[in-house]
Amino acid sequence: MKKILALLLVSLMIFSLTACGVKTEGAGKTSAPTSNAASADPGSVNNPSANANAIGFFTDGVDPNSRDTYNIVFAYMRPMALFLNIRDALTLLEPVFNVKITDYCANSDIDAMIQNIEIYADQGVDGFIIVIDASANLRIKEVLDGTGLPYIDILNSVRDEEGSAIVHCIGMEGVSVGKEMTKWLFDNSKDYWGEIDTSKLGLLNFTFSPNEDFQDRYDGNLAMFQELVPGNTNIFEADGVTGGLNEETGYNLASAILSTHPEVEYWIIPACLELYAQGAMRAAETLGMQDRVLISSVNSEVLTALWDTGYEGCWVSCVASAPFQYAAPALSGIVSLLNGTETVESLWSSIRKPTDQLTFYEIGTEIVTKDTYVDYFDYVRRESGLS
C-alpha cells in the first residue's frame, strides 16, 4: 500500500512539474518597439545592425508579431549575479522581440552543457544566446555549429590561434577596460587620500589566468599602473586559479597580500571579477585598512546592490554592465539572423575589426559611482527597446 502511495507521490510531483514547465502562449504578443526602427533609413534594411543605437538595440524592419514566436535558449555555466540579471533582462525583452527565452544554467558542468545544447536543438529551439565558457570554448563552438542554429556569445570571446574572433560575441575589450579602471582609481585617489607619495602606492592586480578576457583586464591594469607610476615595484598579482570564481578566493588572496606588505601605505585594487572585489573589500575591512584601499571592479551587479542598501566603503566604483547592454544587442542580432535580414557574415560587419572573422561587439563601458549609477542604468534601460 505504501509503495503504491509513494508511486502516486512521484506521479504527482511529475505532474506538478509539468505545470512549471508549461509554455506561456501569447507571451510575446505585445507591440514591438518603435524607437530605433523608426529612425532607420531605408538603405539600412540590407544591414540593419549598422543602425544599432548606443547600447546595441536595433530592429530589422520585420514586424515581430507577423511571425511565430522564436524559442531562444539562454545558456550559461554558473549562477552568477551578472548572468541571472542578463537572463532577467532577456525575459523582460521577450514581448519586444516576440521571443520565448528558455533559461539553462549548467551549474559548472561543461559536459552537461554540451549534452543539453544537443537536446535543445533536437527539441526544435530556434537559437542560442550563450556564455561560452573559456575552458572548452572551441568544443562548445563546434557543438553549436553542429546544431546548424544561429547563436550569439556573451562575455567570453572565442578566438583562433591568431587571436581572431571566430564567434559573434558581446563583451568588453579586456585590456582597455583594465586601463580605464586603473586610471580611474589613480585619478580619483586624490579625492579620497589627498596628495600621496606614489612610491608608497601599491597595485593588487586580480586575474583568473585560465580566462583570456580576465587576463586581458589584468594586463590592462598592469600596463596603466606602470605608465602612471613608472618605476613603482609595489605590484602584486592575485591569481584566482588557486581557488575559484568566488568571493572567498578574493578574500583569501587579498588578505594575504594586504597584511604582509607594510611598506605599501595605499592600495588600489582593480578587480577583473566583481566577486574578487567583494572579497578584497571584506579583507580590507577585516584588516582595518578600508581608509587606505580603493577598489574598482568590472561589472556592477554586486556593488549596485550594496549601494542600494546604503553602502559607502572602500569599493568605490565599477565598470557598469547593465544587463540590457548584453541582452538588447544579443536579441537584436539573433532575431535578425532568424528573420534572414542579416547573415552570420553581415551581422555587425560595420564595426568588425579587420583582424576578426566575426564581430566582437564591444559594449560601451562607463565607470559608475554611487552618485551616478542610477541615472546610467535608467538611460540604458530606456535605450534597450523597452517602452
Binding site: K2, A106, Q115, Q123, A134, S135
Partner: protein, 339 residues
C-alpha cells in the same frame, strides 16, 4: 522456493522498485514530450550520453562502498588525468596509447596511495580520499596544466571522445555500457565478486573464510582510481581540452546514484543493475525536465525530491517484511512459552 515465492520476492526487491519508477517516468515524459520525442533514438542516445562519466565513477566508487569503505577522490583524479593527458599529447608529443596508459597508471597510483593511508595508517577512508583528491590530485592538475586549459587535437583521442556510431550513438556510450556490464558480471558471477560481498558484509567472517580484505581494499581503491582516471580521459576527449575543474564535481553525484541504486552504505549489498537503473532514473528524469524546458534550478530540486521519494519508498518496502518477520518470531516464541 516456488514461483509464487520468487515473484513475491521480486516484487519486494529494490530492482523492482527502481524499474517501476523508471517505467513511470518514461511513460510520463513520453506522453508530454513534443511528438513523443522522449523515446526517440536520438534522445535515448542523449540520455545514455549524459550517463557516461557517471557510470564510470559509479562503478569505481561502488566497489569500495561494497567493501564498507568510501572513495571521494575519483572526480579529482579524473581532472588530473585529463590535464595530464592534454599536456602529454599537446606539449610533450607522446603517442596517444602511451599517454592513456600513463594516465591510467596515475589513477592507480592515487588509488594505492588512498589504500595505504587507510590500511596502514588507519585513517578513515572518507577523510583520506577527500584529502588525496581535493589537495594532492587537484594540486597536480594545477601544476601540470599551469593553470590554463590545454586544447587536445590528437585525432585518436578526439575520435574517442566525439565520434558517434551511425551519427547517433557516441563511442563513449558503448565504452561505458561495456564497463558496467563487465563489472556487473565480475560482481555477480565470479569468486572475486563474491569475496567483495563477503568482506563487505563482515570482515571477520571473511578472514575466517580465508579471504584477505586488506588486499581486496588495495585492489578496489586502485580500480576506483583507474576508473576515475579513465573517466577523466573521456571527459577531456569529449571536450577536446584538459580543463582545471574537469570532473571534480562528478564523484559525489555518482555516489548518490550508487546509494540510490541499492548499494548499501555499510557494504556487502547491491549490484550493478541497481546502480545502472539508479543512474538511468536520475539522468532520464533530468533529460525529461530539460525537454519540458523546466529551468535547471528546479531540476536540481526535482531530482532531490525524486531521490528522497525513492529512498522513502525503498524504506517502506524493506521495513514491512522485517516487521512481519519480527512479529512472526514473537508469535512463535509466545506459542512455545505457552506449551
Amino acid at each position: 522456493m516456488d514461483n509464487a515465492g520468487k515473484a513475491k520476492k521480486f516484487f519486494r526487491s529494490k530492482t523492482f522498485t527502481l524499474a517501476a519508477i523508471l517505467l513511470l517516468i518514461v511513460i510520463f515524459f513520453w506522453y508530454v514530450s513534443p511528438n513523443h520525442s522522449y523515446l526517440s533514438i536520438r534522445n535515448i542516445s542523449s540520455i545514455l550520453n549524459s550517463m557516461v562519466l557517471y557510470i564510470l565513477f559509479a562503478v569505481g566508487v561502488s566497489m569500495p562502498i561494497l567493501l564498507g569503505e568510501f572513495d571521494l577522490s575519483p572526480g579529482y583524479i579524473g581532472t588530473a588525468a585529463g590535464a595530464m593527458m592534454a599536456k602529454l599529447l599537446t606539449d610533450v608529443g607522446i603517442p596517444w596509447y602511451l599517454v592513456i596508459m600513463a594516465c591510467l597508471m596515475l589513477g592507480i597510483a592515487f588509488g594505492l596511495l588512498n589504500a595505504v593511508l587507510i590500511n596502514k595508517f588507519r585513517i578513515q577512508s572518507f577523510i583520506v580520499t577527500l584529502a588525496v583528491g581535493s589537495f594532492v590530485a587537484r594540486g597536480i592538475s594545477l601544476i601540470v596544466s599551469g593553470g590554463r586549459p590545454i586544447n587536445i587535437d590528437d585525432p585518436v583521442i578526439v575520435w574517442l571522445g566525439t565520434y558517434k556510431i551511425g551519427g547517433i550513438v557516441p563511442v563513449t556510450v558503448v565504452i561505458s555500457l561495456t564497463v558496467i556490464l563487465i563489472y556487473g558480471i565480475i560482481l555477480a558471477k565470479t569468486k572475486f565478486g563474491r569475496s567483495i560481498y563477503l568482506s563487505g558484509g563482515s570482515r571477520k567472517a571473511a578472514r575466517l573464510a580465508g579471504l584477505n580484505p586488506e588486499r581486496l581494499s588495495y585492489i578496489l581503491f586502485a580500480n576506483s582510481g583507474m576508473l576515475g582516471a579513465f573517466a577523466g580521459i573521456l571527459f577531456a576527449a569529449r571536450l577536446k581540452t584538459g580543463d582545471l575543474s574537469g570532473t571534480n564535481a562528478y564523484a559525489f553525484p555518482a555516489v548518490t546514484a550508487v546509494i540510490f541504486g541499492g548499494i548499501a552504505f555499510g557494504g556487502g549489498k547491491g549490484n550493478m543493475l541497481g546502480c545502472f537503473l539508479g543512474l538511468l532514473i536520475i539522468n532520464g528524469f533530468n533529460n525529461g525536465l530539460t525537454i519540458m524546458r523546466v529551468t535547471s534550478y528546479w531540476q536540481g530540486v526535482a531530482s532531490g525530491v525524486l531521490l528522497l521519494l525513492a529512498l522513502t519508498l525503498d524504506y517502506f518496502a524493506n521495513r514491512k517484511p522485517k516487521l512481519q518477520e519480527v512479529s512472526k518470531a514473537h508469535r512463535r516464541d509466545s506459542q512455545g512459552a505457552a506449551r
